[in-house]
Amino acid sequence: MSNILVFVETRQGKIRKSSLEAITLAKKIGSKAIALVVDADADKIATELKEYGPDAVYTVKGIKNYSPDAYREALSAAIEKSGAKIVLASQTAMATDFIPAAAAKLNAGMVTDALEVKIDGGKVVTRKPIYAGKVLADYAINSDIAFVTIRPNVYPAESAASSPAVEELAVSIPVPKAEAKETKSASDELDVSEADVIISGGRGVKGPEGFEPLKELATLLGGAVGASRSAVDSEWISHQHQVGQTGKTVSPVLYVACGISGKIQHLAGMSSSKYIIAINKDAEAPIFDIADFGIVGDLFQVLPELTKKVKEVKG
């Protein structure tokens, strides 16, 4: 099959973990996986990428700040150079910002938030949830070049050593029409969309302090804290943490829903989690219909006991 170009996202000199997942997928379905790194420190990034087995790495070093126009140019140059017929990236705010513009310029079809990507009869076929997860759609991409972003955490990144040729691309960088001037880190917290474990709270946590026991367990397990819209709308926690139709879509290994009833709009964001645990006082709460393990009980009594046990082993 064809060469696959993978856009590898970096932020503040760090590779986004889910970009590595895209490389793993590219290696599975393509003949050659070519990584594109846009970063002043791209050589260092290229060295780090070796462990994940790309066949080649293209670097673009001259773009100082993120700009959708400039990144689009870099991507277009890489597509032309590689002859790639498939462009893969992880589903992130950056990828869905500039890649669709590049796809449209090439008159190409694009599917975002794919759960599955394969090549079938010479075409790229993807599966993705639509209508907030109420429907699964299988699409074939018919254009000459196919663009796909994949949901983080669906294809685990696998290490595979390689010694890729690293090549710097000559890109004439336009004066950006839009450009990032600064970034404010919300914190060093792991984003829910990338976490393997999410401890999530809803109206049942009763207030901002109610999130403390959730944070403690999340930290112990190296995970992130999620929230329902009710908790976010009550301003107990910021919107960054919201999971669901108007929040983020997550697929962690483990999602623990604490004091969340399980309304359809919440389920839209988390039902593809591998394991779901629910802790809820109400035995009839709909969250139990999709939970692999449900605890009928008070989260403020159950969570501290659980944390105690986890501490004993993680100590």
Binding site: R11, R16, P68, D69, T92, A93, T96, D97, P100, A101, A103, A104, N107, A108, G109, M110, T112, D113, P129, Y131, A132, G133, K134, V135, L136, D138, Y139, A140, I141, K177, A178, A180, K184, D188, D191, E194, L221, H239, Q240, Q245, G247, V253, L254, Q265, Y275, I279, D289, I290, A291, D292, F293, I295, V296, G297, Q301, V302, E305, K308, K309, V310
Partner: protein, 258 residues
């Protein structure tokens, strides 16, 4: 300022979605349609900007069937100045690329400073159209915007990206897609509803905007299905200490996460 805001009629987000007999489309017979949730943030922002910048004109545009006109009436009732209905019965089957081509062709001969969208439409759940339109028109874009201000010909906006807030600056004309948090959408006023009732909704066809031959789709639906209902698993009811013991065992032995 000339502001265009694109809105879309989508099935009620509370409604169950069924697949029709072709297996490639959803059955729309028993569902009511509404404004796609994020579009309301885009409309509100257009109205706020127009209020702050005298002489501005806000035009709301939708592509859709005859029924989608109601959406434009609702937006007139909220205070938009102009509306345009681009008539198409096939709209539900267009992919993002096709939709973006229609919108870009529509805007090409217009004067516009800002083009606003919701960051994604309920349905295809793609967030592709705003960026594709910006690409086709070769204008600036800022997506997932939660805060914005205008000074002169430039836009400064905040967008939420993974784990941080990114502050963007762009020159107009600019495509903006709205994220929740940008504003609090207003309700229709009674006076607005009455006034909107009398207004004529101008309608043009997709063919008036772009030759059908240019509307080759990038993607094709192979099949749609409702996901298999996940079955509830084990349930435990008892003392908190015992519940925690059971949970811990499950996390350790089944999920192998501790």
């Amino acid at each position: 300022m000339n502001i265009f805001v694109f809105v879309k009629h989508v099935p009620d987000t509370e409604a169950r979605i069924k697949i029709d007999s072709s297996g490639k489309n959803i059955a729309t017979a028993d569902i009511t349609f509404m404004d796609s949730p994020y579009d309301e943030f885009a409309v509100e922002q257009a109205l706020l900007l127009a209020e702050a910048n005298e002489g501005s004109v806000v035009t709301a545009v939708t592509i859709g069937s005859e029924d989608a006109k109601q959406l434009l009436r609702d937006n007139l009732a909220k205070g938009v100045n102009e509306v345009v209905h681009i008539n198409s019965d096939k709209f539900g089957q267009f992919d993002a690329l096709t939709t973006a081509k229609i919108i870009a062709a529509f805007l090409k001969d217009k004067e516009y400073d800002l083009v606003l969208f919701g960051n994604k439409a309920y349905g295809a759940d793609n967030s592709l159209v705003p960026s594709m339109v910006a690409g086709l028109l070769d204008v600036a874009q800022i997506n997932l915007v939660t805060k914005m201000e205008i000074s002169g010909k430039s836009v400064k906006a905040e967008r939420q990206v993974e784990g941080m807030t990114e502050i963007m600056e762009a020159s107009m004309p600019c495509v903006i897609s709205a994220q929740k948090g940008l504003n609090e959408p207003r309700m229709k006023s009674l006076k607005g509803i009455m006034a909107a009732k009398k207004k004529e909704i101008p309608s043009i066809s997709v063919g008036d905007v772009i030759p059908e031959s240019e509307l080759t789709m990038g993607i094709e639906v192979l099949s749609l299905q409702n996901p298999a209902a996940k079955e509830g698993g084990k349930k435990f009811e008892g003392e908190p200490v015992d519940a925690a013991t059971e949970l811990f065992k499950y996390m350790r032995e089944e999920i192998k996460i501790v």
